[in-house]
Symmetry: C2
Subunit: 448 residues, 2 copies
Amino acid sequence: MTVSRYWCELAWLGAGAATADVCVEVDGGRITGIHPGVPRPPDATRLDGLTMPGMANAHSHAFHRALRGRTQVGTGSFWTWRDQMYRFAAALTPDTYFDLARAVYAEMVLAGITSVGEFHYLHHAPGGVRYTDPNEMSRVLAAAAAAAGLRLTLLDTCYLHGGIGVAPNEVQRRFSDGTADAWAERVAAFDGGSPDVRVGAAIHSVRAVDPRAMTTVAEWAAAHDAPIHVHVSEQPAENEECLAEYGLTPTALLGEQGVLGARCTAVHATHLTAADVAMHGEHRCTICMCPTTERDLADGIGPARLLRDAGARISLGSDSHAVIDMFEEARAVELDERLASNQRGSHDAPSLLHAATADGQRSLGWAEAGVIEVGALADLVSVRLDSVRTAGSTAGSALASVVFAASAADVHHVVVGGRTVVAEGLHLSVDVAGSLARAIAQVSEEDV
Amino acid sequence: MTVSRYWCELAWLGAGAATADVCVEVDGGRITGIHPGVPRPPDATRLDGLTMPGMANAHSHAFHRALRGRTQVGTGSFWTWRDQMYRFAAALTPDTYFDLARAVYAEMVLAGITSVGEFHYLHHAPGGVRYTDPNEMSRVLAAAAAAAGLRLTLLDTCYLHGGIGVAPNEVQRRFSDGTADAWAERVAAFDGGSPDVRVGAAIHSVRAVDPRAMTTVAEWAAAHDAPIHVHVSEQPAENEECLAEYGLTPTALLGEQGVLGARCTAVHATHLTAADVAMHGEHRCTICMCPTTERDLADGIGPARLLRDAGARISLGSDSHAVIDMFEEARAVELDERLASNQRGSHDAPSLLHAATADGQRSLGWAEAGVIEVGALADLVSVRLDSVRTAGSTAGSALASVVFAASAADVHHVVVGGRTVVAEGLHLSVDVAGSLARAIAQVSEEDV
């Protein structure tokens, strides 16, 4: 390998403000040197605007992208939305899912995302029939991420029941391995096949996984030192069912079954008791907030500030992909907290960027990413400060301008592990919009 | 004048879905023919994506754009934010305000806005000294709108007091005409100077205008058949002060003073009683929601659905210009209502677009705009359906895709009153980002 050099007009090196004129050296996919306040070396690629570490999309259901714009007709709840989502889930094949996931992951790279955590439960063929390779769909997602040029953490999801004590319905049979042991056996047969793919565990929810099975999944994650993610208290109905059945909140049940801990990410965590908040903090869990989805699905506003104060970390996910824009996710954590609290400034720009980068990457098992530091994976994301959205910002206000006013459309250059994937705002190997249109048309039966 | 023709791949003609292959004929700045389902005439300009009527930004404080990204540091409330805003207000001159407003209005046209309502209270020189022409700042704003290529409703704002029974402070002296009669006298001397400028009235708030003065402003608006706008109940503190002083809510006080009515727009209307909601409905007021600002300033979530059900109309404004994106404002009305109600579907895509177009234009006194109809002002705004954000949409889902997933960056062609101002995403006469950067640097004393 030879050394590549990037010269950043402004770079965020983790402090409260950006640093000017930073030369970053990269070798073998890692950052090998950082030199602030230097003139551009003649051989260095110039990166205008603000350059920041690669962002992590810590909670993705790739196929939900096909629903964008199609689930906004009429009234309804989270549960009627889920019915529409299941219609798309029922139609996917390995081939159509590869096309769709590749396009969605490429949309993510354009937005500055260098690692995605795919909360993957669409394991089997219709009716629950096993593919010849039981990990066919996992392989498809890994291939899609490779084609799109970003890292994948496949959060292989255990999904056994259609509700507490309820058998899976027709669509849900595609999700179920039958037992947690069968889940673990299948997962053991898949290693990702690439240094850019890691495998983690997920428990779909307290609705879909019984307490004994939770423990099996948690033990697998502990034995493999792997991340473990779980949907927690997204809807009040989940809390009510869990309390009625177990006499415990979902958080308390997960705690009792040994799921919580520094390796654990609780997704959403919207409707928590004070004791739940304390428990996530004590266990040093990460909380993956998905604010644009939580708005879209009428979930509510989670207690991000209380969770941070209690000791939890925050990560971010675009989840249902109503939009894919990590700046919108980041600012929404603060803006929705303002709506709930009538106070500004619970989360400042550096802490929101930290959630989008280092804490998100760590929650996906990529602790060596999400920072611009010597030894880190060489992810560089450059954001325009001269678009109509960001114009007027200065070195002193650049972080806040990016977090509070930029859009994914302002990301112009993306380096993932030393490879340039996006330049001048264009993906170098995927026609992203065209691929999205074709892939979504393939899985849409009618003009809805 | 000769007839111009535009052929729209899809056009929103006001129904629940878009119409394909629509030829729109324009003569003398007005729409003179609409022909759906026809092949493109050879002389017609092709408009790809979804073409919709011109949007109205019904509540603007142009100079707040200079604060974008700079007011996100540290904690605080609406009131500490106001202190920062006043520092910029104190620094503006007619020359620097022209440069800033022209750039901000050009950013608006790029976002598909064809009429702006400028809630204008920066009337006088520092200390309240009158300019040689007491309407110097009004002339500056009209010239800025003309240079940017959009229509202006100058909502000339009466601002007399620094709070109920409190004299204006040093900055606020620039806002005050001393008395409502002096306000009316000054306003009478300004006619806008162009068919693209109209003058309306505004009452800053129940804090800044006493009841007798409110009535004077309302009588002026009635006599001139002009719109009248007023900030209402943005913050609980305003309600408390008003109740303590007058024994009435701001809405009830405005009703008693003859301000409410079909010509009246209440801006924000966030913290209302049930009686306030009923009163706005009975008077057929318009409510201008500014959701991205209401998030930014920690105002809270206004009762948009209850107001509509009571009989009020909804319009939209980007207000402090934390962002300028009418699609974000439109979807935020529904998404924030979802957060407050835990229900989806209070406002569907056509009704949100109606707020952004026809009802917004009407609230600014441009009842002949905001619709694609024969006789209407020829505003056409074309939005890409092949960007990464909108890709995958169909004729059936195009309205929802635009409202719920598009960004201002997807607007590619804008015709204002028959003149093309934006083509291929570029403003034809203003370097918008460069102008913003230069204008904001002029009014920024330090790197904050």
